[in-house]
Each structure stands twice: as C-alpha cells, then as structure tokens.
Symmetry: C2
Subunit: 337 residues, 2 copies
C-alpha cells in the first residue's frame, strides 16, 4: 500500500513551528504508512526537525511566505503563491498529498481550499464540521462558521456531507440528522429552516426532523445541521458555558478545607470529563465539501491538538470521505420542483 501524505502548515498557529513539529513527530510515531510534509522555510524547519529527532517519515518542503492572522483571506491566497497555505492546498490539488492541516488564518485556509482544491461538483457550499462530545454521544454540528448566511440548498448539502462523513470515517452505519430549529414540529423555525426541511426530508437520509437547542446537549441526533452564524454561536456558547460551570465547581471546591479534600476525591472523575471535553483531543475541524481533505485547527493549538488533527486527517483519507460524498451526491434531490 502506498503511503498517505499529509501536508502540514508549519507556520500557522500562535505557538510557532516547533510546537507544530512536535505534534507531527508524535503523530508519525503512532501511525505507520503516513508521511508528513511540513511547509515553511526549509532551513528553519530542518533545524527544528533535527533537534526533535524526527524519523524519515517527516520531511520538509519549501514555503517561503506566510499569511498572517489578520490578512484578507481571498486576497492573500491570490497574492502569496509561496505561502504555506497556498503550497499546502496545491500539494493536495496535484495529488502529491492527500490532506492539508493548518492552524493558520482560518479564513485563508478556507479560501485556499475553495480556490485551489475546489468545491466538490454538486456541493453548493463547503462547511466546517465540529464534533461536540456530549454525554450520550458525539454530536456533529455543521456549519460552524464557514457560511454566515445560508440558503436552503446549503443546509441540504451539509446534511448529505455529514452523513457521508459519519458513515465512511466515523463508521456509524445510519447517522441520524437533525435540523436545528425552535420547535419540534415541522413548520417551526425561520424561513431558511422551513424551506430546508422540505429539501432534507426528500434526501436519502435518516432525517429526524427539527431539533431544538437542548437536543444538541442531549445528543438526540448524530448530526445537527444549521447555518454558519448559528453553528458558530452554538459552538462558542457551549465551550464558554462548560468552562464557566467548571470554574464554578472549582470555586466551590476551594471554599474550605473540607471541600478541598472532597475535591481531591472527585479529581479522577473530573479529569476524565475534562479530557472528553478537551478540544485538543479532537484537534481540528474538517472543512467538508472541498475536493480534498482539509483540517482546520485553532490558532492556539498545542502539539497534542496538531498531532490529533493529523491523525483525524489520516482517518478522513483512509475512510475516503471525499469519494463517499461524491458518490452520495448522486442521490441528492432535484431542487427545481
């Protein structure tokens, strides 16, 4: 079997290339048959690689330019052909790599994937797909921010793509799909949701119907589909609330000698919960709908997050998510009824 090649933007993220390389080195130690190509200034990266005693499965390709966090995405992609984000997307486009992982400017990574890898034919808009690790199951929410304004067809495509992803990569045989709304009954919601309902129910999906905000927390469905404005708010609110509740528990635990002691007893259970909720555990979010695997990491990603994002990208490639989406699109309902 041929090696899987993952291109990694060594210049993205807040912690600099040595953190990213550390993540790649540890991912490469876990997975066999995976080649990691680090993109950035060759000399600098090679020096760091030597320091970290990387195996031959991690190598460097030159990308002499970088796109900073505040640059206008589309402009930067068009005007910085030597940047790590452009070079990484091109490697996937020409088949030299099967996936691109970056913790750089999110907008630029998305624009790069869209302009260079290109959209999958039949997909109206790509979407950021985020795993929310709830108690009862992992809930995949999309779009988590790629498209602030959506049309009904976009939501249909999100549902189809997420279904393909969960089937091929997460290995859930018949994922349930919920449409985020403000009432369970059909006909509840805003205009976008009401129209999207009629499209999604005609697709070959296990469509649950509308779900409400609380259903995300309850894990009512495997997939929750919404526009990118709402999805981004859902994601950030969830992170914020969990942190606040944790902080509140911490405050209770530190209020007296006795509660401090009790806190120690709770520690193992709490650590397990914290670990499950730790964003570093799942590393990145997939941009579904572009013609290649593209994993976007948070700017603050640690080595652990980068390593997990690389492994996630490997799984997406092995599962054949892009091919699966293309195949499933054949069953997409006609829109002009």
């Amino acid at each position: 079997m041929e090696n899987i090649v993952i291109a990694v933007d060594a210049m993205g993220g807040d912690h600099g290339p040595s953190e990213i390389i550390r993540g790649c080195v540890s991912a490469s130690a876990i997975e066999t048959g995976v080649e990691i190509v680090l993109l950035g200034p060759k000399e600098l990266l090679n020096r760091e690689l030597k320091l970290q005693k990387a195996s031959g499965m991690v190598r460097v390709e030159e990308a002499g330019d970088t796109i900073s966090m505040d640059e206008e995405p589309a402009w930067a992609i068009r005007n910085k052909p030597e940047s790590s984000i452009v070079v990484g997307n091109k490697l996937v486009k020409d088949g030299s790599a099967q996936a691109f992982v970056s913790a750089g400017n999110t907008g630029a990574v998305m624009a790069g994937a869209l302009l260079i890898m290109g959209r999958i034919k039949g997909i109206s808009r790509p979407a950021i797909t985020v795993k929310c690790p709830m108690r009862t199951r992992d809930v995949y929410v999309l779009d988590a921010g790629a498209n602030a304004d959506c049309k009904p067809e976009n939501l249909l495509d999100f549902a189809i793509m997420a279904n393909s992803y969960l089937k091929s990569v997460i290995k859930i045989s018949k994922p349930s799909v919920g449409l985020l709304s403000i009432g369970e009954e059909r006909g509840k919601g805003n205009e976008l949701v009401k129209e999207a309902y009629g499209l999604i129910e005609r697709a070959d999906l296990d469509f649950y119907g509308n779900v409400e905000g609380r259903d995300i927390a309850l894990g009512t469905t495997d997939i929750v589909v919404c526009d990118g404005y709402t999805g981004n708010i859902v994601l950030k609110l969830s992170e914020g609330l969990v942190l606040q509740v944790m902080a509140e528990f911490k405050a209770i635990a530190s209020s007296s000698f006795l509660t401090k002691l009790a806190g120690l007893v709770f520690r193992p259970g709490l650590m397990k919960m914290k670990e499950r909720l730790d964003p570093d555990e799942y590393g990145g979010t997939l941009l579904l709908g572009v013609d290649g695997v593209c994993t976007i990491c948070h700017g603050s990603s640690t080595a652990k997050a980068i390593g997990n994002a690389v492994l996630q990208a490997v799984n997406a490639v092995r599962g054949g998510v892009v091919e699966k989406i293309k195949e499933d699109l054949k069953g997409k309902p006609q829109l002009n009824v």
Copy 2:
C-alpha cells in the same frame, strides 16, 4: 398610592389552576399594595381560593373559555373572546390591570398582547427577554423566540427596549449592549448583524459592539441582542448544557462510597449554584414592546415560578418600563439615511 393590579391566567400551564393559585397566594403575601385577579371559571377558582385561604387581595374574574397549547394563536385570539388569555389582555388594555401573567400557549399570549394591548408606537416588533444568570452577572438575551426572522430595525428596537428595561426596572444605570455575532470586529457576522450594527451604534446606548457565543457565558455585556431563532437556540442550549454537566457531576459523585461522601460536602455549594440557575427563580420572561406589561411563563411552571413571575410583573409596573420605552424611543435613530 393606588393598588397595582396583576391579571393572572389561572387556566394556563401544565399543573392546573391550584398550582397557579398557590403561586399567586404566596406572591400576594409578600407584596403589599398588589391586587391579583385570577382569570378562569369563577366557581372553580373561588372554591380553590377558599381552600387555600387566600387574602382579600386575590380575587377572581370570569373567563369561561381556554386556549389550549396546540391551538393556532392568532385564530384562537380572534375566536375565543371569553378565553383567559383574551380577557387578561383586555383588562390591561382598558386599564383595569397593569400587567398580565400567563403560563398558557406562548404563541397565543404573544398574539393576544400584540393584537389587544397593541405595539408601542415606534417599536417594529416586540421581543421575549430572558435573564441568563451567569457567574459574573445576569445577561439579558432578546429576542428569545418571538420573531424567528428579523430585520435590522428589529434588532435596534430590541436594544433600545432592553436598555429601557434594565435602567427602569433592574436599576442598572448604563447597561452595556452586545450584538451577537461570530467575530468581534465590526463587519463580522451575517447580513442581518452587519446592517444592525450600523443602526445600533447610532442609538443612545452603551454599545459594546459584537459579542460572540462565549461572551454570553462570560457575562461580557448586560444585554445581548439577536434574532429570535438564534436567541431561542441560545436559551435552550444553555439550559440543556447546564443540566448535562450537572448530571455528569452527579454520576461522578455516585460512583463510589468515597465520592458519595465527598458529594455531601459539596452539596451546600452546589445547591446555591442550582438555585441561581433554577428557572423557577425568575419565573417568567417579559414580552417587551407591547403597550403593557406581559409576562410569559413556561407551561411547566410551578407555584414558585408563578409567584416569582407575578413579583417580576409588579417590579416591571413599578419601574414604569412601558413609559420608559416610550420616552427612550424619542432618541431612536432615523432609519432612512
């Protein structure tokens, strides 16, 4: 000083009239100068009042009909003039009562308030205003579901109304206003938010600018303005997540003898937290923008929730929120620029 009269729908809610009456009786025991008018079948309610030994400050007015939870709101309002929801709104409209409190069909209560009390002149759409008790401060989110689709002017009005409410009733001298979006910078967000930004910044408000999902949890601003679809999801997701995290702690606490013991030590702190987060504590949500005080309670409201909703309505009347909104509207920016 004249008594404040609060009309209460005795027929709304899942627990029946005796639960609602219990709430009213206890509220009336707390507040002096408040008359409570219970609406429903006179005979039934009077019997219950006698059983509960209510004071003379709680009395009954006939409303022989009810609107059920699944009736089409506007139709029901037009066709059931004897229903408790129509009678209650009429009492406020003709000045016999200053506020209406109901745990009945939310859509019908809103439609009743809108059609009978009427909109405040200059307000494009009324909004449901919900208090989210965060660790650092109470955050008031609106619209929490009255308007699934909004125009920029609606969001401006929500900001103005919430500001008037917090100033006059909650007694915060200069409430900060955040616009819910998916990035802090001006220009981030969906089309609605981007346009609303330009309107809200011209109003006489302490406008913080965009806030993100996590800012609701952090308590970055006193007020968070958004469309009713998003606000409803924010509200229900928050409730759901807090319940799930609590359940998770409970599971940890019950995992062994030692953790059960430690759980007992944590109990007082946890109970305080639970009390703060308990929706029954704040009872109802205000429908701001109609020409009278209208408090909407959850169908599952307990006596405690109803009692607190009555007290909340009393405060809104005493604070003169409706007059304050009318006054503040004089400073509303012109839209046709």
